[in-house]
Point group: C2
Chain length 145, copies 2
């Protein structure tokens, strides 16, 4: 395939993305901590507010083993943020569902994360659109039509 790109420009962009990643991770972790959640717990809670999920699906979204999810959901359940509900269609399956409190925690978390997106205020609407399109292309989301 394409030759390894070691030109200074590419390296510079890669480094910038590395910096963005570091900052994002740190802000995410910090926002989670403000609600007494770990990063993993916050991620799972966030997933579940979009839609209740079987343990297996959570593991897939997190790219980890299902046995790992057991522990994370255990801790969320112990804090009353999530409930396990048996799937009547298939009694092997346990759906993880956020409680009322879990949902509101997730909502507040999402708000602080959005607020953390504040640095984007540096950019005009036009610039944000350009940035959006470039990021989409980098992610290979480009589909003609």
């Amino acid at each position: 395939m394409a030759p390894p790109r070691s030109d200074p420009l590419t390296r510079e962009v890669v480094d910038l993305i590395g910096t963005i990643v570091a900052r994002y991770n740190s802000e995410y972790e910090q926002a989670a901590a403000q609600h007494a959640l770990t990063g993993a717990q916050a991620k799972v809670l966030g997933l579940l507010t979009a839609e209740a999920l079987p343990m297996r699906r959570i593991a897939e979204k997190l790219t980890c083993e299902p046995s790992n999810v057991t522990g994370i959901v255990d801790r969320l359940e112990a804090r009353g943020l999530v409930e396990r509900r048996s799937d009547p269609q298939d009694r092997r399956v346990k759906l993880a569902v956020p409680t009322e409190e879990g949902a509101s925690t997730a909502r507040r978390l999402r708000d602080s994360l959005e607020f953390a997106g504040e640095p984007l205020a540096q950019l005009s609407d036009d610039e944000r659109r350009v940035l959006r399109d470039l990021l989409k292309r980098v992610l290979g989301a480009e589909r003609p039509g």
Copy 2:
């Protein structure tokens, strides 16, 4: 301060950055694993090849407690990738220095990471320059002159 920005465009860009972060993390972890390193070990080894560092400095760069660094360097040392060297200037200090093998591992790791930057090939040089400048602005790296 600025009002919390919940317009669709900002949210879209924030989501895209989230996706970039997820992909970056996963590729980093995977590249590290190819050299039988964890993410934390790879990060430390990378830091050290730029410059030998006291334990304290490593902790600062990782934003974690020094006691945590002890373990990470222990494991790198056990694998012969890093050495602890006493600082003659201050005998309290231990410098972590990569061994020959540690340096070459770090080099190979860096190469695979650069290769992982391949998605950028989607963009022309001009577009990469635009992306670079926008990212710099978002990071607040803007300095006139």
